[in-house]
């Protein structure tokens, strides 16, 4: 498959400085992938991104989009084929939302009704009420404005999307929402995206492949998030990824990815002798009370088992109830929050699927099975 974007010894030098902001960058971005450029401030990641749409001009080398050199295109025309989303959003304050989104289609000479239809489609796609089209940017919140920014960039169906810390100026709650929604959008439309960020967590969350850059735009490692976390290429990457990379790996997994333990199940009114028999040799030393539909109700204690039959009200409350679809990191957080050793895991219909504990998680992380796991973009957890 031809690469959508390819850097060939791309170099950018400012003035007559001898050190290059981007020094002979060689990188290939596959079509339909989100390639994240991540690194410390000043490493040249933004400059490298801007070489693609010539908002920064190459000093040496080349950048090819779909096999065609950017040097051979008229910059203005080239930019109408690349989506551009920046941190400060940059919506035109004097134009309505609809007019902002219609900017590039208008430049390309689309017909009015085609533009109107496309605008409505895009606003819905980025999760905005199409009625907002008549408002001005100042009347929208920051999160809404950036959604418009994304819609605007997608308007003319560009070959490549360039996003420079697009969610950096948004508050953390909305940032997470926007990230999730963009991933959902990407699953639908599959654009080729060059995404710049300084936040390694965002890189891991968003990227199909991540290029960790150091000074001069030099790529220290270009790999999938899982590879990056499990096998950092050198000390720089290791430091940049962070000492908590084991925990970061948990963000890439779901509870359903590992084999859970089984707790002995008990029903209300069941003879406690039966339950005690099940306890012998069980993986989890506490019985779980479930209803007739096998939905977890609570945990049984020694005192509960002292009676003849299983009581309706268990001594211990259920505590955290996890879901098979939960992201592993969130599941661990719930476990720790609930100060529970074990947590019941239910499936989508609420029926017991197994039991999770911290021990299970750490065992799994250390196991060889975890090291060979491949996490494709489509299966990436992003709720």
């Amino acid at each position: 498959m031809p690469s959508a974007v390819r850097y060939e010894n791309a170099t950018k030098r400012y003035g007559d400085s001898t050190t290059a902001a981007v020094d002979r960058l060689n990188l290939e971005v596959a079509a339909g992938e989100i390639c994240v450029l991540v690194g410390p401030s000043g490493c040249g990641k933004t400059t490298a991104m801007r070489l693609v749409n010539r908002t920064v001009e190459l000093s040496e080398g080349d950048v090819l989009i779909g096999g065609e050199s950017v040097r051979e295109r008229d910059p203005a025309r080239l930019r109408r084929e690349t989506g551009y989303v920046i941190q400060q959003i940059g919506l035109f304050p004097h134009r309505t939302i609809a007019e902002n989104v219609a900017t590039v289609p208008q430049l390309l000479g689309w017909k009015k009704d085609r533009i109107a239809a496309r605008t409505t489609e895009l606003l819905a796609l980025v999760g905005l009420d199409p009625e907002l089209g008549g408002r001005y940017p100042a009347q929208l919140s920051g999160g809404q404005q950036q959604r418009v920014g994304v819609a605007r960039a997608l308007a003319a169906d560009p070959l490549v999307m360039l996003m420079d810390e697009p969610f950096g100026a948004i508050d953390p709650i909305n940032r997470e929402r926007l990230q999730n929604e963009f991933l959902r959008l990407q699953a639908e439309i599959g654009k080729t995206v060059l995404f710049v960020t300084h936040d390694i967590d965002e890189a891991i969350k968003m990227g199909d492949r991540i290029a960790v850059m150091r000074e001069g735009g030099r790529v220290a490692q270009y790999a999938t998030p899982a590879e990056l976390l499990m096998d950092p290429a050198d000390e720089f990457v290791e430091d940049f990824v962070g000492a908590d990379r084991a925990l970061k790996r948990l963000a890439l997994m779901r509870v359903s990815d590992i084999s859970l333990w089984e707790a002995p199940l008990a029903h209300v009114g069941q003879a406690t002798a039966e339950v005690r028999a099940k306890l012998r040799g069980a993986e989890v030393p506490y019985p779980l009370l479930v209803d007739s539909e096998r939905r977890p109700l609570g945990w049984l204690s020694e005192r509960d088992l002292a009676a003849e039959t299983v009581p309706a009200q268990p001594d211990s409350p259920l505590g955290p109830l996890l879901d098979l679809d939960d992201v592993m990191r969130d599941a661990l957080a719930d476990l720790l929050q609930g100060e529970a050793q074990y947590a019941a895991v239910a499936d989508r219909s609420g029926r017991i699927a197994g039991v999770l504990s911290v021990e299970i998680i750490s065992e799994f992380l250390a196991s060889p099975a975890a090291k060979t796991e491949e996490h494709g973009a489509v299966e990436r957890p992003h709720d």
């Binding site: 080239l78 930019r79 400060q88 940059g90 430049l107």
Partner: protein, 251 residues
């Protein structure tokens, strides 16, 4: 020697505007004037209001033409300086220098070149508007957020498209503010056009310079004119910037 001779001609013209200029021209007013405590002679005002008709029209013409000419020149200079940064300081200094020339002296300096009449007055009045309009246009353009320009360029707008579709519309409030200041001060300055023989409300003022009623009438008309121009321009600005109204409504 030659320079003295060059000065002689304009000074001779000054002589025409001799010491009589400031004396009471007619006796009609004397009866009303006889009472020094009377501030405003209503009778006289009612009878003589149409004297101010032609001067008012002349005054409006002076202001309108001067502002239009001044705006055309200053705006063109600002666009040049926006493109070629090195022009900024010299143009600012140049327009500023014109502004420092005292108005009456300006008229007299122009007299040997353009003679007495409306044109001379208009040239000088336009020259005075240049600095404020030029400076405000530059400020307006400078205040366009860098992120908006970055996004515009990044989306594929050419330099010219960016200027006319984005930068200038966003600079409109500052440009119109400059126009308003220029217009109001031109209305005031145009009363001196009488020194260049340019007509306007300066004519009736200096016809009866010691007659208070006259001063109040002519001055009052000038003030109302200034306010009217100001409000018209303000209205134009409001119409041209619907996005600011929307933001205000939301606040």
């Amino acid at each position: 020697m030659a320079s003295l001779a060059a000065l002689a001609l304009p000074l001779a013209k000054v002589g025409e505007v001799g010491k009589d200029f400031f004396h009471e021209r007619s006796s009609e007013t004397l009866s009303c004037q006889a009472n020094p405590d009377k501030l405003f002679c209503f009778e006289w005002a009612k009878d003589n209001i149409d004297r101010y008709g032609t001067p008012t029209v002349q005054h409006i013409e002076l202001v309108a033409i001067s502002i239009l000419a001044g705006f055309a020149v200053a705006f063109a200079l600002a666009l040049l300086a926006h493109r070629h940064h090195w022009l900024r300081t010299p143009l600012l200094a140049g327009t500023g220098a014109l502004y420092t020339v005292p108005s009456v002296a300006f008229f007299f300096l122009l007299l040997p070149l353009t003679g007495r009449g409306r044109d001379t007055a208009i040239i000088a009045l336009s020259a005075y508007t240049l600095q404020i309009i030029y400076r405000n246009t530059m400020t307006g353009l400078a205040n366009v957020p860098a992120s908006v320009k970055d996004a515009g360029r990044g989306m594929g707008l050419t330099g010219r498209q960016l200027l006319w579709r984005v930068e200038l519309p966003l600079a409109t409030p500052e440009i119109v503010a400059g126009l308003r200041i220029a217009t109001v001060s031109t209305v005031a300055l145009a009363t001196l056009a009488v020194f260049a023989g340019g007509g306007g409300l300066g004519d009736p003022i200096y016809d009866h310079i010691t007659f208070t009623t006259n001063i109040i009438l002519a001055g009052g008309i000038a003030m109302l004119m200034a306010i009217a121009f100001d409000l018209i321009l303000l209205g134009i600005q409001r119409l041209a910037t619907p996005w600011l109204r929307a933001a205000r409504g939301q606040a």
